[in-house]
Subunit: 246 residues, 2 copies
DNA sequence: ACCTGAACACCGTTCAAGT
DNA sequence: ACCTGAACACCGTTCAAGT
């Protein structure tokens, strides 16, 4: 994409005419630098050396721009599968998606409740569906399975990264918030909240990785059970030591 | 909570002094009548016959008001369990939560990424934890399990009710959106998207109830596997006909 | 065809001032 | 103690007007 560039530009900020790509790029830059709350049409325009009104020649409204942004962010993850054990591939895909979702600032807030079936999502779905079908899932189970997986990863990251409440997370570190919650739970009247008091420690352990793997294990085991006609000969019990891969 | 009421009021809208309860009640009314996008401080104040600035004497900011609203909405569901088969109870609880989440307009947008550990959530967690522990889950598994369940239900409803994209859901019925997606998938080049083309029908079947039960089955089966020492004698294969209950 | 100026109809929030 | 008036610093979006 080499682009001829005129040298004499009055404003240094304005370089090339606006395109969908440059606009999405500016939105990405604003999101990464200033966060979702600062992602305004005026900020995106300013990033391009342009006024907000100019954007509306190229994009219908902000919601559509966020759809584009969603696609662009999604396109930056490349799902890699080994092609050997399909359950390992499902696990690797889920981890890669979660890792990507957490590496891009506020991406989960762009993704929340957004399901734009464009080329970026299609490319990924194609890969995931391939793994599930290779595992021997029926068409229906593969379709339901991919939604469940996408749903799980997105929902997990959304709840993992969200402020735990307006009251607490005013700049408080997540560790101290959990410590506070633990004290709060432990101090409850044990007569009316016996379970919450007993599990105060377990409920506030704050190890999101282990919790992610726990739910992921449930899903993968369930999918495995539905794979192939009936048998579950190669069953491998879920152990503490999960197979790591980078 | 009988409240003495002075009869002579200059403004008919203003009846009683503002309290946390009346403010939350007004927010609930606005949300139910006009939806989340219309839930502004000015609208809540107007519902009370008061100006927006007045609210700030009683609540720090809008985010905290939404925390309160979240609690109030959550408090309106009463989880009922039978106490017989714990897996049935888990299923019933998940269904009740989903039903409640969908019955209150835009509640999932208030709940998304919000986890306010106040009395309303504590009451429900206490019930769910009781069921999981009765099923024989370890403390750790019960804690992880309840997060996974809450996460699943909230994430599912969020993705189920969210507009499928800015491009599509401009007033379009969900059925026709899915039909459009089906055609879009089926029309893809089968060489590069073999799985998406083959599963075009299954991916766009639009039966959220069945999809919800599918994922729920995966979770419940996985929890069951972790219950008690090791055996899975009373295993009941997941059949098409799921046990219904109102 | 593409961008600007200026405006419209809003927001959340603050704060002196009223009672 | 509790509420109002008025403002501040923003929003997304529209549209005539410029080039």
């Amino acid at each position: 994409m080499a682009r001829t560039r005129k040298i004499s530009e009055p404003k240094p900020a304005r370089a090339a005419p606006l395109t969908r790509d440059t606009i999405v790029g500016a939105a990405k830059a604003v999101l990464e630098r200033d966060g979702y709350d600062a992602l305004t049409m005026r900020a995106v325009a300013s990033e391009l050396g342009v006024r907000a009104a100019s954007l509306y020649w190229h994009v219908r409204d902000k919601d559509l721009l966020e759809d584009w942004l969603f696609g662009a962010l999604l396109d930056e993850v490349t799902l890699t599968v080994r092609g050997a054990d399909w359950r390992e591939d499902v696990r690797a895909i889920a981890r890669q998606m979660r890792g990507h979702l957490m590496s891009k600032r506020d991406m989960q807030r762009v993704s929340a409740g957004r399901f734009v079936l464009g080329p970026p999502l299609l490319r990924q779905m194609e890969i995931i569906l391939g793994v599930l079908r290779r595992g021997g899932l029926s068409n229906r189970d593969a379709a339901f399975g991919i939604y469940t997986l996408l749903n799980y990863v997105n929902g997990f990251v959304l709840f993992q990264t969200a402020p735990l409440s307006a009251a607490q997370a005013k700049g408080a570190k997540r560790g101290v918030v959990f410590a506070g919650l633990r004290r709060q739970l432990a101090a409850l009247p044990a007569a009316t909240y016996p379970n919450s008091v007993a599990l105060a420690g377990d409920l506030t352990s704050n190890d999101p990785d282990a919790r992610f793997e726990f739910g992921l294990d449930l899903l993968i085991e369930g999918l495995e059970r539905r794979a192939k006609p009936s048998h579950a000969d190669a069953w491998r019990p879920a152990s503490e030591g999960l197979n790591q891969e980078s």
